[in-house]
Amino acid sequence: MAWKDDWRRVRAIVWKDLTTEGRSKAGFNSVAALGVTILVLFGFALGPDTQALRDAASGALWLAVLFAGVLAFNRSYQVELESGALEPLLLYPGARWTIFAGKLLANTIFVGLMLVIVVLVGIVLFQVNIPDAWPKLVAVLALGSIGLVSLGTFYAAMASRSRAREVLLPLLLFPMLVPVLLAAMSASKALLSGDMMHEAGAWMNMLVAYDVIFVVAPLLAFEHVIEV
């Protein structure tokens, strides 16, 4: 069964990436700490007024995740590049998209765990009232991070192998992420303020559509990007 073999390849990549990360933990700890630091800085920028903090909470939270996540995406290739392991990985038999799918899953787990920490800290720092529809909020967080991680993993495959990767990845990635971020921020903002206008559902539908596009397009394009 071909798809079973592909699934095994995907799992092997996920296992490899998460094991490397789990053995040192330095990467995760520093990225999560950076996310929290950015939240604190946003708190200073927005001032101590409780209502202002609450209004800006969803935007600040997504930007903190974005800025910290960018570091995670380059890291996911850097370990392989430093040890010269990317070429052997490409020489293994099987479809190349499985490498992307594996890295996408591993990065989603990585960013998901970071998101848990950043959201919990954000709720405390920005004095957010947890709405009754919190399962929807969890869904928005999950959908938003899938779009973010998929595009991030794709662009990092290029940026991490170029000169000036630190500046190139955000420069390529951030404009591309505008639709995902806009939908994720608007949906979480609507949910946090009680969703009076019933707009969160529409934003969530858009988020699902973006996720489908932004996962399928990189899956198709990855082959062209990684082979050179």
Binding site: F154, Y155, M158, R161, S162, R163, A164, V167, L168, L171, L172, F174, P175, M176, V178, P179, L182, A183, S186, A202, M206, Y210, I213, A217, P218, A221, H224, V225, E227, V228
Partner: protein
């Protein structure tokens, strides 16, 4: 990828200098005609004449990015280096027209709307498009290997083009202020003539610019290859 082109089949000028001169003269002529012939708008006066350059700049910008998309696909399909150089030339010219559209729009928006900038769907998506292609050009600057640069910029160009309608849709949901297009039936015929004359002028300039940038990049590549050949002792 096809074999690197020898210096012998570098593009020749041919009639291109004449076409360039024609494009510039046509552009100047269209400006003069726009300023002299048309009456000031009832509400906006002479300010309305910015539309003669703002709207064509936006049209030609879209056309130029379609050219980028076309040559990016062609490169991925045929793997010819010249297609990549054409896509890059078009991307540079497109970014210039995109910047021009934004600046002319701002100059018009300040007196007409009272603000330099507003977070409207068209303005915002044009700005995002500009940023995407700034990223595209930065990628080209930071990657040396020609094959890798070509392959990556084709992917980035196509992904960027896919994203433009999506950005537009999502920002339109967010908010909108830009006026809808006028139809030729509702405006004075002189406005239509001036608008079209400028559109053709910009089109000719765009074609000439892309051609010039393409020729320049072909010469750059030929110089690189010659330097490599000398370094390897194969001159």
């Amino acid at each position: 990828m096809t074999a690197p082109s020898a210096t012998t089949d570098l593009p020749r000028p041919g009639y291109w200098p004449w076409f360039g001169a024609f494009a510039y003269l046509f552009l100047i002529g269209a400006q003069v005609m726009g300023l002299v012939t048309s009456v000031p708008d009832r509400d906006m006066g002479h300010l309305q004449k910015i539309m003669y350059v703002h709207v064509p700049a936006a049209w030609i910008m879209s056309l130029t990015f379609a050219v980028v998309l076309w040559y990016s696909f062609l490169y991925l399909w045929k793997q010819r280096e010249n297609d990549d150089l054409k896509a890059a030339a078009a991307a540079e010219v497109g970014s210039a027209f995109c910047g021009l559209t934004l600046v002319l729009g701002m100059i018009w928006g300040r007196p007409a709307w009272g603000v330099w900038w507003t977070w409207d769907a068209r303005l915002t998506s044009t700005l995002v498009l500009f940023l995407i292609f700034v990223g595209y050009l930065a990628l080209r600057a930071f990657v040396e290997d020609p094959h890798r640069r070509a392959q990556w910029s084709a992917a980035v160009g196509i992904m960027g083009a896919i994203n433009v309608p999506i950005v537009y849709m999502s920002v339109r949901w967010w908010r909108t202020l830009h006026q809808v297009q006028s139809s030729p039936a509702t405006v004075d015929p002189w406005y239509v003539i001036n608008l079209r004359a400028n559109a053709f002028a910009f089109l000719f300039v765009m074609i000439y610019f892309i051609r010039q940038r393409y020729v320049a990049s072909r010469f750059e590549r030929a110089a690189e290859l010659a330097a490599q050949a000398v370094a390897l002792g194969r001159n």
